[in-house]
Amino acid sequence: MQRIGDARWVRYSLISAAVAFSALFLLLPLVAIFAQAFASGWSTFIANVTEHYTLAAIGLTVLVTILTIPVNLAFGVALAWLVTRFAFPGRRLLQTLIDIPFAISPVVAGLVYLMLYGRNGWIGGWLDSHDIQLMFAWPGILMVTIFVTSPFVARELIPLMQAQGSREEEAAVTLGAKGFTLFRRVTLPNIRWALLYGVILTNARAVGEFGAVSVVSGAIRGETNTLPLHVQLLYQDYNTVGAFASAALLALIALFTLAAKALLEWRVSRQEVAA
């Protein structure tokens, strides 16, 4: 049976349009970044990315990302389940509130956290008098990263779960399915790709976030300097090659999730074949 857009000429022209657009719009900048990263050769690139402060920045960025993903995953799934499976007053408002991080400029996002938890904020004042340092230390970076990336998982799930409706789950409940079993056996298989896209976006954005982090980081080299901040610092200091080497590394870290997704796809399809 033929599907829409399967005609050979349609397929070819759409694919070429998509490839051409991506090549010009997305691939070209990537090539430009790698070209600059390798401008002084492979060994300089290696020297740049294995430099002490770069390694520390990579470590911090990876740590923050790894902690961010599960938090936002749990929140995203809970929220999507809530707003797509139940009707209650204030549902649309709640759904809009989770978009606050998109609606607010990242620098302002960092700033509002600073105004609350910084020394002059009402929580920050208490923290300061007890010598607890959240801002200008890694917990602060983690907090704003969670803030900035919090809508992604929910945002991916909501349109899909809305489109799917809840008939399958309701049927399963009538058959006696309960709680997490219901979620794992009925819902999860239906939403796994959207969930994965949510994680991919969360990961990419957590790795690359600059604006909000720059406000709360304090930019102490080797301690609170994330990889994007490191890029900025090297660039400011006329170390263009070093800056772009770190930028290339960020692109690679983001691609890493895509590799994980490909692996998962492959395993799932093998399971399905086996079944």
Binding site: D128, I132, G218, D237, Y238
Partner: protein
Amino acid sequence: MIVPAFLRRTTLSLALATGVGAGMAMPAMAEERELLNSSYDIARELFATINPAFKEHWQAEHGDTLTIKQSHGGSSAQARAILQGLKADVVTYNQVTDVQVLADAGLVAEDWQSQLPNNASPYYSTTAFLVRKDNPKGIHSWEDLAADGVEIVFPNPKTSGNGRYTYLAAWGAAEQQFNGDEEKIQDFMRDFLGNVKVFDTGGRGATTTFIERGIGDVLISFESEVNNIRQEYGSDDYEVIVPPVDILAEFPVAVVEDSAERNGNLDIAEDYLTFLYTEEAQRILANFNYRVHDETVTTEFSDQFPETELFRVEDVFGSWDDAMQTHFASGGMLDQLQRR
């Protein structure tokens, strides 16, 4: 358990919070100590060179092993971080106003400018022009920049201290030229600002615009910066011009007493700043194209720094506060000059 370096500090501060208390400055035997220097964004390599020299100096005198941590960013963003609780021991900025903000908040001594020589500015610079090879537009002074057909690149005075210096330098030069005739000065400034092609938010962006995009006939920045750029991008393609009348750009330093005391670092912090005035440090500074006060070093490097008549912001504009209020506040002179 192995604790990564970036975790250790917070774990420690949390542990302290449980009761040990923070006021434990007891320099007894040789120990390992940490100092945090909050600095401006283009000073990374400068302090990466100065810090090892200071460490050696401190170890020779006190036996302690020092770790000097650096934090770099736009100077007013750096000051904001300290206001909100970043525990830096010393600040080394390129804007007097940014240290003053800390003093107004009580984090830095009120009389910080008189605590160290030369208004607490161990080195200084001025603004200079970077022009393309052979100076095709014949630019030698501020006056030339207002001429028709000259394209200028410098950072936005609203977002960059560097840009503010350029604006004030042009104004000061015009004031001298027109004997304080306000109308003529404003006409000059309007022409000058009208020649700006791109307003980047910072000095680095302006450099990229001028060098890599090939936009503009002249780039204006700190003299130190302009020389670094010329060394970085090829000394044959560009020339540095220092105008005959120019502004004195101070690089103020101060101890952040509040946090240095809490960190038990007052002694190192004070010595660190004093060290910047030693011949050894001044030579390093001069190598990075900053003008210094040490006479031996000044003589050594005299070829590098052309003679020019430098005026202080205070002499022309009253005070930094007045200059900021009159010229850069919303609705101030800059806004009026740029109005369509």
